[in-house]
């Protein structure tokens, strides 16, 4: 059974990329519906399997590591596979209605969408440093292709900038991988960890870890390397922006976090951990501040992503040379933050797309009066905002609560200040949008009504982000499952 599930998970997105490339947009949409159904079922099945029997290693081609490539199927990986299935299917369903089917170049949306999905799954499951690099390339190139779709001059400019930043990040990561391979003679993360457990840490590969984390931080848009993100996420079509903000930046962060948790204790240093945390804190404050000053609706949401990404990097100082329980708390908090931000930000971008479609302008001050004409989309936007502002009972609140406990438990109280400031500032930029939308403008009463399905999808995501706070216990328990180190599928 597990064999079939794994094969389905790896095969479906790639096969559907091929199928949708051969069709036009409308047929691609129908084919995609079937694919989404298959992929959601397979992801759910795999999650249930792991929840019952624990994680395992999956050897591709029957060749075990270090000669071949192994996939690490553990609780965290399947949770993210399931998260990807939820967010990507929402974005895919939304895009099928939202994107103009009469433009011939929009047919290329579907193959790029499926390639992006397969890249994300490859990264969540990857247990091999070079394979992770290939997964990152799949994600980056299809994301750049999605931003550039349509060939608008501004979109091309943003996507070229995105491409160059992503390539620079990938190359830095690859250089680090080469150094690791030179030192340890293996590309498998588990292999390197096993070597480090038995030997004292060598002097050379510290730079390798630094290079890899720096490259991945650039791809995750950590302050001050964030400048490529707002133009790319702001100009892309709303379903694409949702995919990019919710999932794509998380993939590079996920690899950085896995590397840090595996090698950080032996190859990292306290100064490096505090430095990364400091940049994360600066991102929270600076990103929120810039979000307050944007005139375009989607730019606000994009800068809010820069701020929310900052929280994720608090993982580095909160897990370096602290007690086991504090480290676990921090890891759980960051995991919840990744999930709740993915759901909330996808909901927010999709709702923002509906609002823009309705008022026919992307400026915030054009939203005047929209609260009466499109209350449902505005409500989804607001619910997602509740999770971003981390008010109880949202998933964002549960995440910040765990992080707060971890920072106080490890005596690093200064991160608590970052958490407080970030919450207040996010309230500031979100209420700016609500205020604009509740203003009355007697001159405009021309609103376009998007179809019902466009309005329901962001609502579902926003409710999931909100409800995450209630089920966080169950979500986290799957991640704490024992991992069968030698278990064959």
């Amino acid at each position: 059974m597990t064999l079939w599930l794994m094969a389905g998970l790896l095969f479906t997105p790639l096969a559907w990329a091929v199928l949708t490339l051969l069709t036009d947009f409308v047929w691609g949409r129908r084919v995609t519906w079937v694919g989404i159904l298959v992929q959601v079922l397979v992801s759910l099945g795999l999650w249930l399997t792991v929840a019952q029997h624990g994680g395992f290693y999956y050897d591709l081609g029957g060749w075990g590591a270090p000669l071949g490539i192994e996939l690490r199927v553990d609780g965290l990986a399947v949770t993210f596979v399931l998260l990807t299935a939820a967010v990507a299917s929402a974005c895919g369903l939304h895009a099928g209605v939202y994107i103009d089917q009469h433009k011939p170049w929009h047919r290329y949306f579907w193959p790029l969408f499926w390639f992006l999905w397969s890249g994300l799954n490859a990264v969540w499951l990857g247990g091999d440093l070079f394979n992770l690099y290939v997964g990152l390339e799949l994600i980056s190139l299809s994301a750049v292709g999605l931003v550039a779709l349509g060939g608008n001059a501004n979109a091309l400019r943003a996507s070229i900038r995105y491409l160059l930043a992503a390539l620079l990040g990938s190359l830095a990561y690859l250089l680090g991988v080469a150094l690791i391979y030179g030192q340890f003679g293996t590309l498998s993360i588990a292999g390197v960890v096993a070597w480090l457990d038995n030997h004292s840490a060598p002097a050379g590969p510290g730079l390798a870890l630094a290079l890899m984390i720096t490259g991945l931080a650039l791809k995750t848009a950590l302050f001050p390397l964030h400048r490529w993100l707002p133009p790319a996420h702001g100009i892309a079509k709303s379903p694409v922006s949702a995919l990019l903000s919710a999932l794509v930046v998380k993939a590079s962060f996920y690899i950085a976090a896995r590397l840090w948790l595996a090698f950080g204790e032996s190859l990292g240093s306290l100064a490096a951990a505090q430095m990364v945390g400091l940049l994360g804190g600066a991102a929270v404050v600076w990103g929120s501040w810039l979000a307050c000053k944007q005139a375009q609706l989607k730019q606000v949401v994009a800068y809010s992503s820069v701020a929310q990404i900052g929280y994720l990097f608090l993982l580095f100082p909160l897990t370096y040379s602290v007690s086991e329980s504090v480290s676990l708390q921090a890891q759980q908090g960051i995991t919840l933050q990744v999930i709740s931000h993915a759901l909330a930000k996808a909901a927010m971008f999709l709702a923002a797309g509906n609002l823009i479609l309705s008022v026919g302008s992307s400026r915030i001050d054009a939203l005047a009066g929209v609260s009466r004409f499109l209350p449902f989309s505005l409500f989804s936007f607001g619910l997602a905002g509740v999770s971003l502002m981390s008010l109880p009972p949202s998933g964002g609140f549960a995440a910040k609560w765990l992080l707060l406990q971890a920072s106080l438990g490890s005596g690093q109280w200064w991160w608590a200040l970052v958490l407080l400031a970030g919450g207040l500032l996010s309230a500031a930029y979100l209420f700016r949008i609500y205020r604009a939308s509740f203003a009355e403008n007697p001159e405009t009463d021309q609103f376009f009504h998007p179809s019902k399905s466009l309005e329901i999808i962001p609502m579902v995501l926003a409710v999931m982000a909100l409800g995450l706070g209630f089920v966080s216990e169950q979500v986290l328990s799957v991640m704490a499952l024992p991992f069968a180190e030698e278990g064959a599928p």
Binding site: L21, L22, L60, G62, I69, N131, G151, T186
Partner: protein
């Protein structure tokens, strides 16, 4: 003045980075060799179906990487052709009727095709394989285009898209067939390894050439474009 300071700063940063990198490489190179990977590779060569270790790693031991890399190439091809909005990727104005060019191409093109075929076959026991052969094949196409030979298949229609994904689809099918037999993803049946790898390499050559050629000839050629979200269209 500011520019000079900036140049100095960038130069210093580059030098410092190179120095740190060199020190790390020196430290790593000084360590005795770790790992048993080369030994493991030579032990398993007989089961790989080919004689050349690079081909064995690319198409058997780490075939998942190669499969995804081909996916990356297809993505690049898709992104390339999605930008061009004309019916043909070939500009009729670029066609020439220069007799000298035609004469030269009559010599070159068959030669390059033979070379591509040789590189493909050589991959089994010496350096070569689908990527190199595909690159030569694509270069042949580039030469034909620069020489003005009409190439009607370069139309963003079904044929071009089929060509882009042909290699990838065959590879993917080969990967999933083993699952039906109850094996892992990408595990080739033991007695079929050599012919399977040969088929995969051949179709990959065609598709890699197609992607590279499509990227060369596709460019945003007209001004029709998508309006930005929120712009009146």
């Amino acid at each position: 003045m500011i520019r000079a300071v900036r140049t100095c700063f960038i130069a210093l940063a580059c030098i410092a980075f190179s120095a740190v990198l060199a020190a790390s490489i020196w430290a790593i190179a000084g360590d005795p060799g770790q790992g048993t990977l080369p030994q493991l590779l030579s032990e398993n060569m007989s089961r790989s179906g080919v004689e050349h270790p690079v081909t064995a790693v690319l198409l058997n031991f780490r075939s998942y990487d190669t499969l995804l890399e081909i996916g990356v190439l297809v993505i690049a091809g898709i992104a390339g052709i999605s930008m061009s909005k004309t019916t043909s990727l070939e500009d009729p104005e670029l066609r020439t009727s220069d007799p000298l060019l035609y004469a030269l191409q009559r010599w070159f093109i068959p030669l390059m095709l033979v070379l591509a075929g040789y590189l493909l076959w050589a991959g089994a026991d010496r350096p070569g394989g689908a990527f190199q052969a595909g690159a030569v094949l694509a270069a042949t196409g580039v030469l034909m285009r620069l020489g003005g030979i009409p190439m009607d298949f370069l139309r963003p229609g079904l044929l071009l898209r089929l060509g882009l994904v042909l290699g990838f689809s065959v590879f993917l099918l080969a990967a999933v067939v083993s699952v039906i037999g109850g094996d892992a993803f990408l595990a080739y049946p033991p007695d079929m390894t050599k012919p399977l790898i040969l088929v995969i390499e051949s179709v990959l050559t065609l598709s890699i050439a197609m992607v590279l050629l499509a990227l060369f000839v596709s460019a945003p050629v007209n001004d029709a474009e998508d309006p930005e979200e929120g712009d009146p269209s």
